[in-house]
């Protein structure tokens, strides 16, 4: 009984002289694992076109019903995405999302990707719904290859035939 108490106190004493493991967040940010699943991004191709073709497969795969896609037809003169179809509306409700990554798996163009950002907080529920404007990366941040994060997963590109990477 007494012995157990001293054993416990001994552990405390030992850690008292060790270097603390606490990370001084937010001054210090720990790097995440490569396959960490954080806030989503909608990617672009190298030529700046949106990768998302508005197919709703991510929404269909989502177990939390967090995604809303409303498709529309591309204007051939000023297309949003390659091919005929794009997402006129794309929204993810981050309060519903369980960060399972199924949407990423379902996406035929590797458009939706769970990136490494994990600082996601809101002052009201409305702003938890990220819209296309917030999700879409800047036009100059596109790439022809599959998004870097997915390359580690050895993901094969599987674009619809109309989309040349």
């Amino acid at each position: 009984m007494i012995g157990a108490i001293f054993k416990g106190l001994g552990t405390t004493l030992k850690y008292l002289f060790r270097k603390p493991v606490t990370v001084e967040y937010p001054d210090v940010k720990r790097p995440v694992r490569e396959r960490f699943r954080g806030r989503h991004q909608l990617k672009r191709f190298a030529n700046g076109l949106e990768r998302c073709i508005g197919c709703s497969l991510c929404a269909a795969a989502c177990p939390a019903d967090a995604i809303l896609v409303v498709p529309a037809e591309n204007d051939p003169a000023a297309p949003h995405s390659p091919g005929e179809r794009y997402a006129a509306r794309y929204e993810i409700n981050m309060l519903r999302c369980i960060y399972c990554g199924y949407c990423e798996d379902a996406c035929p163009t590797n458009a939706i990707v769970l990136e490494h950002q994990y600082e996601i907080s809101f002052y009201d529920r409305k702003s938890s719904v990220l819209t296309k404007t917030e999700l879409l990366v800047a036009p100059d941040r596109g790439h022809g290859e599959i998004p870097p994060i997915l390359q580690q997963l050895n993901r094969r590109p599987s674009p619809p035939a109309q989309i040349d990477l």
Binding site: A59, A60, V70, P71, A72, E84, R85, P108, P160, Q162
Partner: protein, 918 residues
């Protein structure tokens, strides 16, 4: 036909001889994958997806005897030593079919691998994705990889419009010819075809305008891939995201079962719902593409009250209070008979019933009608309620042994889906006669087409009756038991001969005799009449009635009379008593009401869902002469613009209700969305008005005359007799089904048509089987919401007795100075309010007049030239179109929006003179 017994995957099944293997397998519950075959289309064997092993008993070539093996059983041999396409191989006795062997699987895999070599695999952006047979069969039977190079895929320009309604994506087409066969064999509009060959083989439209068919939307359903997609649903949503809601098409008397596919309370697309009694698995383009009006931005949102010259929005309470105040004021001062009510024949039964109750019982006025009362509108003669088609009729099953007689109707325009139904009857061996004063498309499918001179239709109809009498084609048993006045009829017609009647009508005696023969000797026979018959007058319908009675073609399933009345729910309107003859006191009909309005006898009107003032200055003036007009509608129509109070209502998407179709089938539609702009249903508006009215004298609607009595029915050809018990005087309906319950309790024949029992009606034998996704994926929806209840016609009661009333028409004389007979003809795409926001807008024609080649030449007018038409009533000027097959002397004006028909028509048939203007 003798039955054939065969074995499929070890199961023994017996099917009629001539059945193909795929259908035999369906009967056994075995699904054989198919692409080009469809149970509703004739087979061609183009795709080879249905390859199966077919074993037949070996026959010794020398003795022609089945070879019996050592075990005493016949020795089986693989038919022709290889796999056989199941869809084009008929079954034979002793056959054994194996659909799941290794060999078959290899064939199926190979077949799919080939199909996919030239398929773009753009399922993610394809509107068919999710209900695509190619997707589904590839998942079920296909290979997981392909040996073909992805880069070798054949590419075409992405979708090309095949008309304004349908897109063709040639890369996706698997050249199964379902679309071509549907158009050729079912729709009878052979406007699609194949072009080129080999890898460049493609579907093209051969017509101008392209894909000119009223049934084009159906090809997007039966196309087993996403090659044909609808422009209306293009990229609106994925098919699994929509919420299908059971609905009924309000546009024509067929009453097709629809599904309104909603997403986020918005209409994404319209799809057919299976109902063999009504529309099989098809709908016409008017139903499919003509529903966008429900979301039109022009919809009325608030009640409007007239303040001086303008209508200003007002709260509901104020508007209703004003209506109640004004109506009761008029009733106090001028009596209830100075009030009148008109309700449109597109409204659901619930609205019509409460409208009738409000006007007749609560307000106490017998003046009710469901017709506009325009000068050219024919009197509605309603044989469908008395003779009707027998209860239990299923046109999808009628075929050999059924004769159909079309008299004065153009089903393609008046009730498009009947074209498919009637062509189906012909394809199954039925007989079709078309009698119409002007050419119609259905003639091409008819065994004989009889073209009486316009105005002389009654003589042609009487010639049929006379031919039946002459040729001894009377159904003696039926006539003795249920028909009176045969001797009188014979006496009336003694002076007539078929020959002279035919000569007067300008038709060939031989074909009339043949038609009479076919009609009388067929086991079942159906008469369909429409606008031209109504325009020709009552004598035609008396003759038609007698034709059906003399030949015993009434009161039993598969026989009778179908009326194509204007408006989707004209049947319901008449049954609900929205016509002047329905009460104990006969009231004024629409035409009398307008006259009474002009001379001040009518002071106030309530008009629901009807636009009589459209293109009709006379009616507009009559409306203006009224003291108070309240209009209930979904758009600010011309009539509504002249109202003192306008009350908005929900469209059929925003409420529930029932319609009764031409074959007297009561069908329920569900609420698809929250009401647009929170508008109430029409019946609710009626209830609000009724509740706000101060109590006054009321009139019972009980019919004084016996209805379906044992006595000879004097009025078998007149407008329907009242068929209603007195409704309770209370107004406390919480939901639509309360109204339906009251209808079921008071309207005779409607007993049992409550929502609960309508929802329980199930397809008997033809309903889709659980394993039939292979055949029906992407086509219509299964009917899980009830197939409706067909109410009885008077003739269905074996005790009713009918009187023969045909008479010799008064000699028909031509006008001395106006040599042309003008008929107004219905156009399905008439430019009405239903077409708002619809892709069909481009198919709607501007007002024009149709002349025959000879008449156009006589006035030396070319198409597009303007002619002046002059009648006793007035004159109008219209551009000309020339119709090659139109008989000389006949002038047609399509009844489309913007045509000032009322200016010129003196009646349903009008004598006119033509002169060239420019």
């Amino acid at each position: 036909m003798p039955d054939v017994t065969l074995v499929i995957n070890g199961q023994t099944v017996t099917v009629p001889a001539g059945t193909n293997i795929v259908d035999a397998a369906r009967a056994a519950g075995v699904a054989i994958p198919v692409f080009c075959y469809h149970p509703r289309l004739p087979p061609v064997g183009m795709c080879r997806m249905c390859l199966v092993e077919v074993w037949t008993p070996r026959v010794d070539p020398a003795t022609r005897q089945v070879v019996i093996g050592d075990d005493g059983k016949p020795v089986m041999a693989l038919m022709m030593g290889k796999l056989q396409p199941g869809c084009v191989t008929p079954v034979s006795d002793g056959m054994e079919v194996r659909t799941a062997t290794e060999k078959v699987h290899v064939a199926q895999k190979g077949q799919l691998e080939f199909l996919l070599t030239s398929h773009p695999l753009d399922c993610p952006v394809c509107d068919k994705g999710g209900e695509c047979p190619l997707q589904n069969l590839t998942m079920q039977f296909g290979p997981s990889t392909s040996r073909f190079d992805y880069g070798d895929k054949i590419h075409f320009e992405k979708p090309i419009p095949l008309g304004d309604l349908i897109y063709l994506d040639r890369e996706r087409c698997i050249l199964c010819s379902r679309c071509v066969r549907f158009q050729d064999e079912l729709a009878g509009d052979p406007v699609l075809g194949f072009d080129h060959r080999g890898r460049a083989w493609e579907i093209i439209s051969k017509s101008d305008p392209p894909f000119d068919s009223k049934f084009s939307g159906n090809t997007t359903d039966i196309c087993p891939v996403g090659a044909l997609t609808s422009a209306d649903f293009r990229f609106k949503a994925r098919v699994w995201e929509v919420r299908p809601t059971a609905s009924i098409c309000p546009h024509c008397p067929v009453g097709c079962n629809l599904s309104l596919d909603m997403r986020h309370d918005k209409l994404m697309r319209v799809m057919p719902r299976e109902n063999d009694y009504v529309n099989e698995i098809w709908i016409c383009d008017k139903g499919r593409f003509g529903m966008r009006f429900i979301e039109s931005a022009d919809r009325l949102r608030h009640p409007l009250i007239r303040k001086g010259d303008s209508l200003v929005p007002a709260p509901w309470d104020e508007a209703i209070a004003l209506v109640a105040e004004k109506l009761s004021q008029i009733r106090e001062h001028a009596g209830a008979a100075s009030l009148g009510g008109l309700a449109g024949p597109e409204l659901p039964n619930e609205d019509l019933y409460l409208f009738q109750k409000l006007v007749r019982q609560t307000l106490g006025s017998p003046n009710l009608d469901c017709s506009t009362g325009a000068s050219g509108a024919p009197e509605v003669v309603d044989l469908a309620a008395t003779l009707g088609v027998g209860r239990g009729t299923n046109l999808a099953k009628s075929g050999a042994g059924t004769a159909v007689l079309i008299m004065g109707a153009d089903p393609e325009e008046e009730a498009p889906l009947y074209v498919l139904r009637l062509r189906g009857i012909v394809a199954r061996g039925g007989d079709l006669t078309v009698i119409n004063p002007y050419p119609t498309k259905l003639e091409r499918s008819a065994a004989r087409s009889i073209r009486p001179h316009a105005g002389f239709e009654a003589f042609a109809a009487l010639a049929l009756v006379k031919a039946v009498l002459d040729q001894g084609l009377i159904a003696t048993e039926f006539v003795t038991a249920r028909v009176q006045g045969l001797d009188e009829l014979t006496a009336r017609l003694r002076e007539q001969s078929v020959e002279s009647l035919c000569e007067t009508a300008g038709v060939s005696e031989a074909s009339v005799r043949a038609a009479a023969q076919a009609f009388a000797t067929a086991e079942h026979a159906i008469i369909i009449y429409g606008r031209a018959a109504l325009a020709a007058g009552e004598d035609v319908l008396r003759a038609l009635t007698d034709l059906a009675l003399l030949t015993g073609k009434a009161g039993r399933p598969g026989s009778g009379v179908i009326a194509l009345l204007p408006g989707g729910n004209a049947r319901g309107a008449l049954d609900m008593g929205v016509h002047p003859g329905a009460g104990s006191r006969r009231g004024m009909g629409a035409r009398e009401m307008w006259a009474a309005a002009r001379d001040g006898r009518l002071r106030g009107m309530i008009i629901a869902g009807m636009d009589p003032a459209r293109d009709n200055p006379a009616i507009a003036a009559a409306l203006d002469a009224l003291e108070f007009v309240v209009v209930q509608d979904i758009f600010l129509t011309e009539t509504a613009q002249r109202a003192d109070v306008v009350l908005p209502t929900a469209s059929i998407a925003g409420r529930e209700g029932t319609f009764t179709n031409a074959e007297r089938r009561v069908q329920r539609f569900r609420q698809a969305r929250i009401p647009e702009y929170n508008t109430p249903a029409g019946w609710e508006v009626m209830q609000r008005i009724a509740r706000a009215l101060p109590p006054g004298r009321s009139e019972s609607v009980t019919d004084a005359r016996p209805v379906a009595g044992r006595r000879a029915q004097r009025a078998s050809g007149a407008t329907a007799t009242a068929t209603m018990d007195a409704p309770p005087a209370t107004w406390d309906y919480a939901v639509a089904s309360d109204v339906a319950d009251e209808i079921a309790a008071t309207v005779r024949g409607y007993a049992g048509t409550t929502y609960a029992s309508l929802g329980l009606t199930r397809a008997p034998e033809w309903g889709r089987q659980p394993d039939e996704a292979v055949y029906y994926d992407g086509t219509s929806y299964q009917n899980a919401e009830g197939i409706g209840i067909q109410i009885a016609a008077t003739a269905d009661d074996p005790k009713t007795v009918f009187a023969l009333r045909a008479r010799v028409p008064a000699p028909f004389t031509r006008h001395a100075t106006r040599p042309y007979l003008l008929l107004a003809v219905t156009r399905a795409y008439d430019g009405g309010e239903w077409g708002r926001e619809s892709k069909l807008r481009s198919r709607m024609v501007p007002p024009h007049v149709i002349l025959s080649v000879a008449d156009a030449a006589a006035h030396s007018v070319a198409p597009g030239a303007i002619v002046r038409l002059e009648s006793d009533a007035g004159r109008i000027e219209l551009p000309v179109q020339i119709e090659v097959t139109l008989p000389q002397g006949l002038v047609l004006i399509p009844d489309v929006c913007g045509t000032p028909l009322s200016t010129i028509q003196t009646g349903p048939q009008t004598w006119v003179a033509i002169s060239r203007v420019a």
